[in-house]
Symmetry: C2
Subunit: 188 residues, 2 copies
């Protein structure tokens, strides 16, 4: 078996997700994931530190995507517009990984400690966006509020997208939630 197996990461992700949903997260071993993917444990550990990493290894990439999309907007962009632009960049990225994102969510929802880890991921994401806005000269509390509001929209839109009975465009759900947030906060 070659050192870099083509598509190994995706095969391991798919196998892990199947097993997590079939048997539960705790009951699944790395050996079983590797075997289901037709790979060795050694190959598994080339891609992931442990089985939890299969669920969270994308967190850094997602944060990088968010932060660089905020940074890519013109300097004069209003903070919430910069966050909205970042959400528009992130949406197709998750849409593309739709089946994985959806099964991943099912696994996470079923386990308290994975849910906690997911909340930490979202909180880190909000902090990173707020820091990026501050670097662009946005004052506090506007920077943190725009970042937290953006993550609130992301969270609510993601749940709606996941629960929808039909195939929805995630970017469209995000846009609707951004519009609704504007309406909701304006009435206060």
């Amino acid at each position: 078996m070659g050192r870099w197996e083509p598509g190994a990461r995706e095969r391991l992700e798919q196998a892990a997700m199947e097993l997590f949903l079939e048997r539960g997260f705790e009951q699944t071993t790395v050996a079983e994931i590797a075997s289901r993917a037709g790979l060795t444990e050694r190959t598994f550990f080339r891609y992931f530190a442990d089985k939890r990493e299969v669920l969270f290894s994308g967190a850094g990439e997602l944060q990088e995507l968010f932060v660089s999309a905020v940074s890519a907007t013109p300097a004069a962009t209003a903070p919430m517009d910069a966050v909205a632009a970042a959400l528009a960049v992130v949406a197709p990225f998750l849409q593309e990984r739709g089946a994985f994102a959806s099964r991943r969510q099912d696994v996470i929802t079923a386990h308290d400690d994975l849910r906690e880890r997911e909340l930490v991921k979202l909180a880190s994401l909000a902090s990173a966006i707020a820091a990026t806005l501050r670097e662009r000269g946005v004052a506090e509390p506007a920077a943190s509020l725009a970042a937290e509001a953006g993550i609130a929209v992301f969270k609510v839109a993601f749940e709606r997208w996941q629960e929808a009975p039909t195939d929805l465009d995630f970017a469209r759900v995000i846009e609707e939630c951004l519009g609704e947030l504007k309406v909701v906060t304006a009435t206060s």
Copy 2:
């Protein structure tokens, strides 16, 4: 020692917070907390299941306060106004416990697992508020967005209040953050 020691809960909370900050959370034992408070371990366990409970036993009370304050607003109140009214009820409750809230925050910030627990608490709070709004006839995603936006304001305002060099009125900081959120979301 009587079964119900007067002020025992407060003495235990104060002793625990002192020890957590002096020695670290992990290094502190229940026996030491009880001893510092001049009480027995048995008395400690009448009030708290373990040392982590000293930090989180107020979560249920806070959620109850939030939810009942939302419910107490007139039925026709806009969702964000109902959330703002709840924040105005919660603010003096935390202001009164200012020293405890502040030291508690220092302990939590210093420990990853306690921070995770705090994020879970805030996420549960948002879910409870959203559920209360839905029971009052608020549709989704407005209910979840108003609840998440309210918790975002609570979180950002709490940090500002804690970090302020002088004594600030927490209710006033919340009002400012609510106003700022409105401005931030309106520009988008």
